[in-house]
């Protein structure tokens, strides 16, 4: 076998391996988040902690925070999360706090912010509320554009702000 032919074969083999690995990575990335970008999270209405009806306005976007009062990581990333809230408000987007289970959030901790404790079946099917905190950004059609499960760090904040800037 000539040198060129051998080189071609080695290159084809390497390319195949790289493609397989990239495919596996993509699969893991999909598994990693539990959510998939673009999926609908139809958060339109629900009820607050005290059973009052809440309507989530359909704005340019919606920032959702799944949080719990007794979760230490939910307090740890408050500086980053507050910057996201500022950005969302600057863009006239809705900001919604969600308690995964009854008793996870209190009226005192939520304050004046829009909060939901009871959601409908479609939202329950779309959310993965088994760990806190979770931060999700939805576009105007309530499709997921960005999400992070766990406390936000500065690189997450950068990515989230970029996701906001890409919204039309």
């Amino acid at each position: 076998m000539s040198g060129d032919a051998l080189f071609r074969r080695v290159m084809i083999a390497l390319l195949a391996i790289v493609l397989i690995l990239i495919g596996t990575l993509a699969l893991f990335r999909q598994m990693d988040g539990d959510y998939s970008i673009g999926q609908a999270i139809p958060l339109a209405e629900g009820f607050s902690i005290d059973g009052a009806p809440v309507e989530v306005p359909r704005g340019k976007c919606t920032l959702i925070r799944v949080t719990s009062d007794n979760c230490p990581y939910c307090q740890k990333d408050q500086p980053q999360y507050k910057r996201l809230i500022d950005k969302a408000k600057q863009m006239s987007c809705s900001v919604v706090t969600l308690g995964p289970r009854v008793g996870d959030i209190s009226k005192e901790s939520v304050g004046d912010a829009m909060s939901l404790q009871y959601v409908d079946f479609a939202v329950g099917r779309a959310l993965m509320p088994f760990r806190t905190p979770q931060t999700l950004i939805l576009d105007a059609s309530r499709g997921l554009v960005w999400q992070r499960q766990g406390a936000l760090d500065d690189s997450d904040l950068g990515a989230a702000l970029q996701a906001f800037s890409l919204l039309r």
Partner: protein, 196 residues
């Protein structure tokens, strides 16, 4: 002298592109190996993370999922666990697309189970929020449109496999597959309930 160099001249002219090609091949090969190593290392990190998460997921399923969060909002406002002092709670999904059929089915199931145990609180969770509220009068069970995200997710998982969730107080103790007929469903539920 020229005659002596003549053969080498030809060889040099032929070898130059070949050497350049060889260099190019080496560079591409080197880059490919580096890329392969990078992707491989990243994959190993991800697999380790995923295995850790699977381990965590197992303990999550074993502990957290068993405890229900039985609070909801129906046409009459908030309904909560233990409000009626009943021991068992049966949670099932009623679908707006087949609401009439679901109402008849679950009313019949309740009627069939009724004489054998009255210690059950029946909750039909509407798959379309408050759209089923108007049917509360016709239903022999509590119509619930909203629950907390956690419980809705657990119900959604059960609904995918057409299962009905059984709780004793707030502890999940069974998931029974929805039977084709209300009689069979009632039998399956009675069988699943713990013997006194």
């Amino acid at each position: 002298m020229l005659a002596v160099l003549q053969p080498f001249r030809g060889q040099v002219i032929q070898n130059r592109p070949s050497r350049r090609k060889g260099m190019k091949h080496k560079i591409i090969l080197g880059l490919s190996v580096v890329l392969l190593l990078f992707v491989g290392a990243r994959l190993i990190v991800l697999i380790r993370g995923e295995l850790g998460r699977l381990e965590g997921g197992r303990s999550l399923a074993a502990s957290v999922h068993k405890t229900g969060s039985l609070h909801g909002v129906g046409p009459g406002g908030i309904v909560g666990s233990g409000a009626l002092g009943l021991k068992y709670r049966v949670l099932f999904v009623v679908h707006l697309s087949s609401l009439d059929g679901d109402l008849k089915y679950w009313n019949a199931v309740r009627k069939a189970v009724g004489p054998q145990t009255s210690d059950i609180d029946w909750w039909g969770i509407c798959d379309s929020g408050s759209a089923c509220d108007a049917f509360q009068g016709a239903a022999r069970f509590s119509v619930v449109g909203f629950m907390d995200p956690y419980q809705m997710r657990v119900l959604s998982n059960a609904d995918v496999t057409s299962r009905v969730l059984l709780y004793e107080n707030a502890i999940l103790f069974g998931a029974v597959e929805r039977a084709a007929t209300s009689t069979k469903m009632a039998e399956a539920l009675v069988k699943a309930l713990p013997r006194p």
